[in-house]
């Protein structure tokens, strides 16, 4: 879905997990950007219809990138910066408040 325009100095050095799948990232990536770069098509499911949703605005407005970050709760993936080894999962019911 997305690709890097140039290689980075820390290529292949960092990863977190999303629903147990390893997601590589570079310093400065948000969780949302890393998911898009890893080809993850569905960040969460709409609690109303169950339809898949993915990052849309990337500036913290739409809340369609909500994910569950271990130790932090439900967070906007576009505002959360990826950290090594963190466990990210699909938000349980897609709801906003932790």
């Amino acid at each position: 879905m997305f690709r890097r325009i140039e290689s980075g100095p820390d290529e292949g050095q960092h990863a977190f997990t999303f629903d147990n799948r390893s997601i590589p990232f570079r310093a400065g990536d948000t969780v949302a950007a890393a998911l898009l770069l890893a080809g993850v098509r569905t960040a969460r499911r709409s609690p109303v219809s169950g339809a898949g949703r993915a990052p849309y605005c990337m500036i913290g407005v739409c809340y369609d990138c909500l994910v569950d970050i271990e130790g932090e709760g439900v967070r906007q993936a576009c505002l959360a910066y990826a950290r090594d080894g963190q466990k990210v999962t699909t938000a349980a019911n897609g709801a906003g408040r932790s």
Binding site: M1, L37, S46, A51, I59, C62
Partner: protein, 473 residues
């Protein structure tokens, strides 16, 4: 430490940075809280890191992005306290600002509060806008600036506005397969805009901006991007993710295959920060957005709270620098940190400088006035993405006697999802207003209540004990 800042500034884009820099240079005690990990706002996002690497990205983003480097350096040197990755979730009475960082909430207090919280892209409710693979044009630029990444597939940009051409050009520079631009700008807009052409061309700033725009448009076409003009009836297709789109252009039905559709219909002030602060808003019919009621220094009545930059009205990054400084000057004058003569002299300079960047904009404002279908979508189109409420449902409830956006919540849960009406608020107001044939200012907008950012109950219950203590950066 029971400290009261001279000013608490929210947001570190051009307006927030300029206000903070000026205030600090004059000895005011300033704190800037910023949602982002580094200063720059969306326009100069991630600039310090990109500039330090001096790679392909820095070269391609060009002089308009590089312009931010000096602004950031001045801000960093100014001595203003900068709190990154810190979310403002409420502006209370008497200059209290509530923020959250690393799972803790703090209350900070300022003699003045400056909201420099910027803009968002105007929501574009069309069929398929919730599909994975539909994003905004601005989102693509965010990913480019902060992660140095571009879409890897067939991309179509749809809508109108200068940003579409700029981003198309940038994506082409990185070898992205930009298949088409589906332009919603109507011929009627072009005719209306023509009236403002002489004035736009009479200022150097206007000439430079328009020349840049025309050059981008010509280059994008020359590099093989199909441009479909006067497009309407846009539908994005796909079951779980985008596979293509259909639309009408110049009387013909078109279908394109695509893996990513990026929508854009201009930008509008981010309303939630000013609304949670209780500021009065008014409808701007030309730009089709709500904006906070502020004076020429950005100050709202009864005073003490300022809104500057694109969060007040969309005038662009360069004007935002002057607006930020004008708010700063007013605050300095109130605190008697500058005398009356200096205040008058410096403000008059800023007003003149700001006018250079605003006068010519009437041309692009008229050219890119949003089409009515964006503000008033068809019955079968989902307007509230969070609660999946259709435009037709809002119209039905309004016809049944529901006279305000807040009332629609009780029936449909519209605006009650996690985004708190950021995406659907204005559209729902318009649907209600049009159903009742009333003015937007009569109908108003959802009432916005704190917290405007997700905050845990644990955080809320421990604010008192953490009051006014904030770890140094």
């Amino acid at each position: 430490m029971n400290m009261v800042y001279d000013a608490v500034i929210v947001g570190a884009g051009p307006a927030g940075m300029s206000a903070a820099t000026l205030l600090s240079q004059h000895g005011a005690n300033v704190v800037v809280v910023d949602e982002q990990p580094g200063p720059g706002g969306q326009i100069y996002r991630n600039l310090e890191a990109v500039a330090a690497r001096e790679g392909l990205l820095w070269k391609t983003l060009g002089p308009d992005y590089a312009r931010g480097k000096e602004l950031l350096a001045l801000f960093r040197d100014s001595g203003a306290q900068y709190l990154s990755s810190t979310r403002m979730w409420h502006v209370g009475i008497d200059g209290e600002v509530f923020v959250s960082s690393t799972g803790r909430s703090f209350r900070i207090k300022g003699r003045a509060v400056v909201l420099a919280t910027g803009a968002m892209e105007r929501p574009v409710p069309v069929p398929g806008w919730t599909l994975s693979g539909t994003m905004t044009v601005g989102a693509l630029q965010v990913i480019l600036k902060s992660s140095g990444a571009v879409p890897d597939g067939r991309v179509v940009l749809a809508g109108s506005g200068p940003l579409i051409w700029l981003v198309a050009h940038q994506l082409l520079d990185f070898g992205v397969d930009v298949m088409a631009i589906v332009e919603s700008t109507s011929a009627r807009n072009a005719a209306a805009a023509l009236r403002h052409w002489p004035r736009a061309m009479s200022s150097p700033e206007g000439r430079a901006a328009l020349a840049k725009g025309l050059r981008l448009m010509a280059e994008v076409r020359r590099r093989g991007v199909s441009v479909y003009s006067g497009a309407s009836d846009l539908k994005i297709e796909g079951a779980d993710h985008v596979i293509g789109l259909t639309f009408r252009s110049l009387g013909r039905f078109r279908r394109l295959s695509a893996t990513l559709v990026a929508l854009h219909e201009g930008i509008v002030p981010m309303q939630h920060p000013a609304r949670v602060a209780g500021l009065v808003h008014q409808w701007n019919g030309v730009h089709a957005y709500f904006q906070p009621e502020v004076d020429e220094y950005g100050e709202a009545s009864p005073g003490g709270i300022f809104v500057v930059g694109d969060g007040a009205s969309i005038l662009g990054a360069k004007a935002a620098e002057h607006s930020g400084r004008l708010a700063g000057l007013r605050i300095l004058e109130r605190l008697r940190m500058i005398d009356a003569a200096t205040f008058v002299e410096l403000s008059s300079h800023e007003f003149k400088a700001r006018a250079l960047h605003t006068g010519w904009r009437k041309f692009i404002d008229a050219l890119y006035a949003p089409p009515d279908c964006i503000g008033c979508p068809g019955d079968d189109i989902m307007v509230c993405r969070c609660e999946e409420v259709l435009a037709g449902e809002i119209r039905a409830i309004a016809s049944a006697g529901c006279v305000g956006p807040n009332q629609t919540k009780a029936f449909l849960r519209s605006g009650m999802g996690p985004c708190q009406g950021r995406i659907c608020g204005t559209v729902i107001s318009r649907l209600v207003a049009e159903t009742h044939n009333r003015e937007m200012d009569d109908i108003g907008h959802f009432r916005i209540r704190p917290p405007i950012k997700p905050v845990s109950l644990g955080e809320l219950s421990s604010i008192e004990t953490q009051m006014l203590e904030y770890p140094a950066e």
